[in-house]
Amino acid sequence: MPKPVLTVYPARSVITMNPSLPRAEAVAVRGDRIVEVGTLTSMKPWLDAHEHKVDERFADDVILPGFIDPHLHPTMAAILLPMHFVTAMEWKLPWGTVSPSTTPEAFLNRVTEIEASTQDPEEPIFVWGYHQLWHGTMSRPLLNKINATRPIIVWHRSFHELYLNDGALQWLQITEAQAGNRKQIDYPNGHFFESGLGYAVNRLNPHILAPEKYAEGLERLKQVVHFGGHTTIADMATGLFNFDTEWLMLKQVIERDDTPFRVELVPDATRLRAAKGSNEEVLAFAKSLPAQNTHRLRFSDHIKLFADGAFFSQLAQLQEPGYIDGHHGEWITPPEILEDAMRTYWNAGFKIHLHVTGDLGVELGLDLLEKLQWERPRFNHGFTFEHFGFSTPEQIERIAKLGANVSANVYYLYELGDAYARRGIGYERASQMARLGACLANGITTALHSDFTMAPAEPLNSAWVAVNRINSQGIVMCAEERITAAQALAAITIDAARVIGRSDEIGSIRAGKKADFTILREDPLLADPMHIKDIPIVATVFEGRPFPIEPARS
């Protein structure tokens, strides 16, 4: 069988993320692999020896390694993406950019427009993104004014509360006799929160988790992932809802020829333990999973565990002096139970990814890691602190000494920096969330992730926040912890590949690696740092195949 023809892509510049050859002028690809990076002259021996064609389509653009999001939840995204986004922040989505609605009037006007443009009078309308800071008071009567009969469901940005109009209450068969006069359900206003939220969600679940909705959501996720310029993502908690359903749907929707990315799957050991009964059974199950790998979907020896609560809900566990209002965070996993689980996977040689949001969560992760290192030392063990909201400088040194990685959601700083300074933990600690400068100064492998939908699935946007440390009010918070544009690019390419254990195959552009590229119109290392998030993404190349990206409509 003849070898496939070589394709040479000349570019304005190739940013390789390979320190031995940081810049190049062209890259030659055969099939799904890179065969040579350099100049048309330097790659001549390859071109003389093999049939080749020169593809000029990216000649005016900048070629980067394909972007990697090392922590994203396809299932959560699949639930959210069929909903209408009406948000205070801009969201760039493939089917249109959501421009910010920052006043109560703007929010209601947008919902009214959506309602008016929905043809079927019985089709329920799901809206996500309401936040009282911008959108003021929400209520059943306000939604009824838009339409009282068609079900309208308005989710809070945090997903921790929702509002229903008359139509939605009727659709879900929630009556005043049941739900009137109950705490945490404000029936007159159609407001469901805290444990009252569960009552509404249990009735919504059959609709939002219906297989056809879920499949539609995953189709949309595919577009979002491509649109952000990714060629690899990690599902950092497979089994978050239901392992078998998720795996089945991922195989059906993602493992298809039109999908321009691969997914690294990291099983959610906390959920699986509830189903399987013991850490040992989960371990045996996790070890059996790689046998089921497909071309795009891959399990390996990575596993997910959880320490403290959600960052957006202020349930991160904090060291002294805690939250301003004195409330405490939560442990998702009791420390002793976490220790048992960590020991099981550590001793089996697994790479543990630990969800930590507050500095007490980081402290627990560090104490346990130190204990395990004492019991059974490991090198290159891949232990990764995930999310990494609050931390202390002293913890950064310990992370470095214990050889762990950091995968951070730096977008917290943009969306929550100002709010958490005012109504959370005060300016000093809020301004230092996602302490990335110190991580890099200490030589820690540091990646950026979106945890989509906690942040937009746009690696350039995450890089922009990390480089500028600017919050949603346009104010720089803790310039000392800024990282350089080159470091930020590493955090969405080669260092993200290291964190998910695939740096031998992806994350940089060098001979032998997968031909995964993200093509930018401008050079992010030469651009004004404030412009990084707005650099147009022209296309991606996944395993040697170009996939163009259409600009979003606004």
Binding site: Q178, A179, R182, K183, Q184, I185, E194, S195, G196, G198, Y199, V201, N202, A274, G277, Q317, H328, E330, W331, I332, T333, P334, P335, E336, I337, L360, E363, L364
Partner: protein, 302 residues
């Protein structure tokens, strides 16, 4: 509405042992109340296979009519499953890191349920160490702060001085629980079937740990005086329950440790019927008899 009682406390305190003890004791009675127990983990529930009638999915039915239901991170879903099945009451065993007050909120949020009280298990052997723990100290103090009544386990492993010191340090009413046995009257809330006044005015629990006072009346009580009476319930009274007809209506009374609630009741038998459970210091404790006698006199003045 079904009363919902929360059993909280940190890992290893003895929650599951108490649940096992309760299920075993209910299985031995003929006229036991039909209760549903919600747990996080079936694994630790220790039921004699002979007593299990059916095991399907999230629930395990017992020959006694009680069921055990696995919460599986969806307490609301479990409550929905149980709602249609006319249980007299529901007891929830929380996860060790839960804030019991948040779980107890389901009693006032989820349609069909009402408050049954919040009991928190305290591990006498480890409480001092746990309170100072860097990671769970604040949580354990908060769990105790949110309790209506404390159930103290493992006291048999302490000497007299240590027991006294611990008891003095507890911020609220507490009941000693030895070897996982906790009287069902302490654990469970009141329902119209669960108050047995036929046992007479006062009865000794077989462990001699408790004295019980039953009170019945057809009089309509005075609501203001009733509230004062409840505020001033003597220290040894750890639980009081039943139904009340007073000048403002008919109520369910639920008094657990330091907290009492009256909830509007629609379908209750006529009159007032109450049970008070008080702690005796020793099997031959005379002061408790005086306390109960005083309580009975006060009831007649309401």
């Amino acid at each position: 509405m079904t009363p919902l009682t929360v059993l909280g406390g940190y890992l290893g305190a003895g929650k599951t042992t108490i649940i096992n003890g309760l299920l075993a004791s209910l299985a031995q009675q003929n006229d036991n109340p039909r209760i549903a127990v919600l747990v996080n983990d079936f694994g630790a529930i220790n039921i004699d296979a002979k007593l299990i009638r059916k095991h399907r999915g999230r629930t395990m039915e017992m020959t006694s009519g009680c069921v055990c239901c696995n919460i599986q991170d969806d307490l609301g879903g479990a409550l929905d499953i149980l709602r249609g099945e006319s249980f007299e009451q529901v007891l929830i065993e929380t996860s060790g890191v839960a804030y019991p007050a948040k779980v107890a909120d389901y009693a006032v949020t989820w349609p069909g349920y009402r408050r049954g009280g919040t009991l928190v298990v305290v591990d006498a052997l480890n409480i001092d160490r746990h309170k100072d723990d860097k990671f769970v100290g604040p949580l354990i103090k908060e769990q105790i702060a949110e309790a209506d009544l404390l159930l103290v386990t493992k006291l048999d492993q302490l000497d007299c001085n240590q027991v006294q010191k611990l008891w003095d340090s507890l911020p609220k009413r507490a009941v000693r629980v030895d070897h996982g046995y906790c009287n069902a009257d302490i654990l469970l809330a009141s329902t119209s079937n669960s108050i047995d006044t036929s046992k007479g005015k006062t009865a000794n629990d077989h462990s001699d740990q408790f004295r019980t006072l039953a009170y019945q009346s057809d009089r309509v009580l005075d609501h203001c005086r009733l509230e004062v009476f409840l505020d001033e319930l003597p220290e040894p009274v750890v639980r009081a329950k039943g139904w009340i007809h007073d000048s403002e209506g008919r109520w369910w009374l639920q008094s657990v440790g330091d907290r009492w609630t009256l909830e509007l009741a629609s379908a209750v038998p006529a009159g007032t019927s109450l049970v008070f459970i008080a702690l005796a210091n020793t099997p031959s404790d005379r002061t408790i008899d005086a306390t109960l006698a005083g309580l009975e006199q006060a009831l007649h003045r309401l």
